[in-house]
């Protein structure tokens, strides 16, 4: 018998942790540096957990995005929004509205700033797409 059938360690592994959609780059270290904030934004908007049904995954992704958005200075927000393409702006809108759903002390203010800039970039159409999207972020 070449398999070790005694150990049950494998049962403690949460397979969903290793789901591809959840993979976010390790940008937590670089966040404090301003230059990396733009890349952090790009990284965190890549691979959004749209297709998974696991609510945990979505919550964690959202918390991460919120962290990145709050780390931006107000003057940098506009540049960051310009650097996104159309789909990026739509995705950003989705996260902004998701963030509105659970307000904390500071989040609403920063989100409103982001909302204003994203609106001028994406127009009302991007909000309509948030409302009609069937797979939420």
């Amino acid at each position: 018998m070449s398999k070790n059938t005694d150990s049950n360690q494998f049962r403690k592994v949460d397979v969903d942790e290793y789901d591809e959609n959840k993979f976010v780059d390790d940008e937590d270290n670089g966040e404090s540096q301003v230059g990396n904030l733009m890349e952090a934004l790009q990284a965190v908007l890549k691979n959004p957990p749209i297709n998974t049904k696991n609510q945990n995954v979505k919550d964690r992704a959202e918390a991460l995005v919120l962290k990145v958005l709050s780390a931006f200075k107000s003057s940098d927000i506009e540049k960051a929004v310009q650097s996104l393409d159309k789909n990026g702006v739509d995705l950003l809108m989705k996260y902004i509205y998701k963030g509105f759903e659970k307000p904390s002390e500071n989040s609403s203010a920063t989100l409103l700033l982001w909302h204003e800039k994203a609106l001028s970039a994406g127009g009302v159409g991007s909000i309509v797409r948030v409302l009609t999207a069937r797979k939420t972020v």
Binding site: G123, V124, G125, R129, T132, A133, R134
Partner: protein, 381 residues
């Protein structure tokens, strides 16, 4: 550019006669009113009262001069002009929900009705029994059919529906026509066959996440029938070209959803919707891209008056911005959503005039040759 306000109620639907001197419209009630153009005024000449529910679709066949109307009372009537009076003939559609849209086929020997019963009724006249018979296309439609458009070959029918898809069906009725030749959409066309089905708009090419899609509000075939455009509730407009590489190019627009669309040349479309003004889109076949061509509405020049300091602070209080214009009214000619566009002159290949009606009870028709040629010089057509 002219705007005529008929009434205060929304115009549910409208249709023009062949020489564009008369318009049949439904003023959001159970009747159809026919107005005749008299100089610059419009005079009501007929009232067609037969429906028991709101009339949701009207189509006036140019050659045979018959009007077909459908309504929320689940019926359709075909009206023929006998002398000075329009006489209705009931068509039994066998649907159990409201009819939503109706369209004569190009040869006017059949018409299609889209309904909330998740099916399309194709109706044709049976000579032996002297009445209209209908056949249903049911699969794979899963929700209300909102819009229909016939292909020039009289057999293919595009349908946009609330299940987020735009499809091309074959509506071949062997009793009234011969077998059609092959087209870019396919060659085998038995009745009810789906020759094309779109994914949620933006799933191929275009938008990245592909999650989304909205009710397909308006569909339109181009003049040749090789291209199909549709607008969807997620503020996108998409064009598909029939053929082996059925590619879909779509544009996520920055405006509110568009409700109706029509080709005006082989490469450009005009669409209008909840934003109350018509817009032009240009399609580039070689690159497979749809681009925004501009607003086709000349807003009234609002008088620019200076703003006093008091008003500035009041604005700041109320709206958090001290902007100069009090944009309380819309700048467009229409004051409410536009629900239907119809091409008046030039057909879908070289349209020079089109007409829009909407929820504000008004109708606007636009002459756009100079503007279209202007945009044509900047985009290769």
């Amino acid at each position: 550019m002219a705007y005529h306000s008929f009434l205060l109620e929304p115009i549910s639907c409208h249709s023009w006669n062949k020489d564009r001197t008369q318009i049949a419209l439904c003023p959001n009630n159970h009747d159809v009113h026919i107005y005749k153009k008299d100089g610059t005024k419009w005079i009501k000449i007929h009232e067609l009262k037969e429906h028991n529910g709101q009339v949701t679709g009207i189509d006036w066949a140019p050659e045979s001069n018959r009007i077909v109307t459908c309504g929320t009372d689940r019926n359709a009537y075909v009206w023929s002009l006998k002398g000075e009076v329009w006489k209705p003939t009931l068509v039994i559609l066998r649907i159990n929900r409201a009819a939503r849209c109706v369209s004569w086929s190009p040869k006017e020997n059949k018409f299609a009705v889209g309904s909330g019963s998740r099916l399309i009724s194709i109706c044709y006249f049976e000579q032996e029994n002297d009445w209209w018979v209908c056949k249903h296309i049911k699969k794979p439609i899963r929700s209300t059919v909102l819009s229909l458009d016939w292909h020039p070959n009289n057999v293919l029918l595009a349908a946009g529906s609330c299940d987020f898809k735009c499809r091309v069906f074959s509506a071949y009725i062997k009793e009234v026509e011969e077998k059609p030749g092959p087209t870019v959409w396919g060659s085998k066309m038995p009745f009810g066959e789906v020759l094309f089905e779109s994914g949620p708009s933006g799933v191929s090419g275009g938008a990245g996440d592909g999650a989304g899609g909205g009710w397909v509000h308006g569909v339109c075939f181009s003049h040749s029938g090789n291209r199909l455009a549709w607008t969807s509730h997620d503020s996108t407009v998409a064009i598909a070209e029939g053929g082996k590489t059925s590619t879909i190019s779509s544009l996520s627009s920055e405006t509110l959803p568009l409700l109706c669309v029509s080709f005006i040349t082989e490469n450009s479309l005009v669409a209008a919707g909840h934003d109350c003004y018509p817009v032009l889109f240009v399609y580039d076949g070689t690159k497979g891209s749809v681009t925004f061509g501009g607003k086709l509405d000349v807003p009234k020049q609002t008088s620019q008056r200076g703003i006093s300091a008091r008003e500035r602070f009041q604005n700041l209080d109320r709206r958090a911005t001290s902007s100069e214009t009090t944009e309380q009214g819309l700048e467009s000619l229409h004051k409410n959503s536009i629900s239907q566009i119809s091409v008046l002159e030039g057909g879908k290949s070289k349209c020079s005039t089109f007409c829009t009606t909407g929820m504000d009870g008004g109708m606007e028709w636009s002459h756009g040759t100079s503007r279209y040629t202007h945009t044509h010089t900047t985009h290769t057509v």
